[in-house]
Amino acid sequence: MATVSLESLKKSYGKTEVIHGVDIEISDGEFIVIVGPSGCGKSTLLRMVAGLEGVSEGEIRIDGQRVNEKEPMDRDIAMVFQNYALYPHMSVEQNMAYGLKIAKMPKAEINARVAEAAELLQLEPYLKRRPRQLSGGQRQRVAMGRAIVRRPSVFLFDEPLSNLDAKLRVQMRLEIKNLQRELGVTALYVTHDQVEAMTLADRMIVMNEGVADQIGAPLEVYANPQTEFVAGFIGSPPTNFIEAEILGAPAGTKIGIRPEHVAIAPVGQGRTTGLVLYAEPLGAETLIHLTIAGGNAVTVRQDGAVAIPSEGEQVGLSWREDDEMRFDASGRRL
């Protein structure tokens, strides 16, 4: 159990800076999800915490202790890799016991811990198998087991679910969350999937081009995005962005409005007029795609029971002023 602090953490490869200073205080037992598009530096950030990448500037503290110079094995962490990184020449049992054996733990204790982890992860029937004889989900569990048996203070997950199929992903997501709650361990979890981020996180870090654009609880980030990038990245379908000029606001700024906050109104009413391109009825809800004056695309999300306008029809679009999110030219929230 431990706290983790990152203090103006930077990473450069040669002259190229890829992480431009990240600050966060993670409290004991907290589940932090680092989310962002590929290439935003989220994996690099995690690997710095793990000790697999050097720190160019700033400081990492685990339980108040500076760990910048410490080797991965001395940081009291465990990591689950995207491709699981199981040892192919060892059985499931040996995979899980490997770290404990190196730590010269007594055999009885090793066996007890492996048995406990195997029970927790329902791996008991597979202990003698090699990784290649397991399915993706089972391999994933072994990777988790290998992390659990060492009882680390911090769990690091590097996109652990991205190699699984959609159904298994949902199931493993729940298992990871339960496990983390049960063990009460601090977790850092990297993903590019916003659903994983929203469902798992106590707090999430939204990364964009090496900068932590926003750090906060999922719903708070959703309701109150601090930058245009965050507003566009979190939420599906994404936030609509409209050039403010069209609506009579100062030029250069943008107005963001979430699809569920826009309603279809009769022509002439509402804030602007749009041309219906096509509608996607999903049953419970309907997504309507329109273009408005100036060429901006707008998506409206409405209840499945509400009448769907026909393609090519001109309609009015209305929303409450409170739901508008205004962004300046550099993408900052006004």
């Binding site: 793990a50 094995m73 990184a85 040892y87 770290g99 290998r146």
Partner: protein
């Protein structure tokens, strides 16, 4: 479904396969058959007549202390060549694998010795260790060590082992480096997080994962040491001193072409043929199953 090219007649495919079959027949089957045939006779010294002796040549060889000594020499020589060339190659490959900058240059330079023919490599080493004009010999003399591989059997063996291993290191290095680079980085990182430091990681993760490569190289290098080192030995020691470096393949030459005992020489070739056959079978069996993990 696999797409196959099919020929209508028999003549075109036969024509296309003929050159390879001819080469194999003329340069392999014919001499090999002749060796088997000759091993059953003793020719007279002028080559005018041959006398049928059945398995007499083999019986004589197996009771010949010189031939048995040559077997032991071959064993020592091939084990040393294999260990030295694979050990050094593995060490260099591990270093090259860790290198980020300049790894291309490093690799290219390490591959060069492979391009040197065994006989040329032998002459190169002979010049360096020549008892009268060799550079290394001179430096050793300055240090008070009197190098003389012409008289000292151990030194002679050492020199042919080094000369034979030298070019071979490049070959082994290539395979080891490819093997190392095929191991996923994340597995090594996982081991590092699990607490394994460099040497432990190498012993428990890297080396076991390299075992298919290692086994393959083991067989290939033994075959090399048995058969392809003739040039090195011929140029450096000619099998001496006191037959200390006369390996089996050199003895075939020495007895047959120098000693003019063609019957015995042919019998020795047949024995070598059997040995290389066994090694090939081992290798094929291994390639089919691989060392599995």
């Amino acid at each position: 479904m696999e797409k196959r090219v099919t020929f209508k007649g028999i003549w075109l495919p036969l024509l296309l396969a003929t050159p390879q079959m001819l080469i194999t027949a003329i340069f392999f089957f014919y001499p090999a058959g002749q060796a088997v045939w000759q091993s059953l006779f003793i020719p007279d010294p002028f080559g005018l007549s041959m006398q049928w002796v059945g398995l007499g040549n083999f019986e004589f060889l197996l009771s010949d202390p010189y031939y048995r000594a040559s077997f032991a020499t071959t064993a020592v020589f091939s084990i040393l060549v294999t260990l030295v060339s694979m050990g050094v190659a593995l060490y260099l490959a591990v270093l090259a694998d860790r290198l980020i900058k300049g790894s291309g240059t490093y690799r290219t330079l390490l591959i060069w010795p492979y391009a040197v023919a065994p006989a040329v490599a032998g002459v190169l080493w002979l010049f360096m260790f020549n008892t009268r004009v060799g550079v290394v010999t001179w430096y050793l003399g300055q240090l008070g060590y009197d190098w003389n591989h012409v008289l000292n059997e151990g030194e002679a063996m050492g020199l042919v082992v080094v000369a034979s291993s030298w070019g071979r290191i490049s070959y082994n290095f290539l395979f080891f480096l490819a093997g190392l680079q095929a191991i996923p980085k994340s597995v090594i990182e996982a081991a590092a997080i699990d607490g394994a430091r460099f040497w432990t990681r190498f012993r428990t993760i890297v080396f076991p994962l390299l075992s298919p490569t290692t086994f393959f190289l083991l067989v290939v290098n033994i075959v090399y040491a048995f058969f392809e080192t003739f040039g090195v030995i011929h140029t450096i020691t000619s099998g001496g001193p006191q037959q200390a470096t006369t390996i089996l393949v050199y003895k075939v030459y020495a007895d047959g072409f120098v000693g003019q005992d063609l019957g015995s020489s042919a019998a020795q070739s047949v024995i070598l043929l059997v040995i290389v056959g066994i090694l090939t079978i081992i290798q094929f069996k291994f390639i089919e199953r691989r060392v599995h993990y």
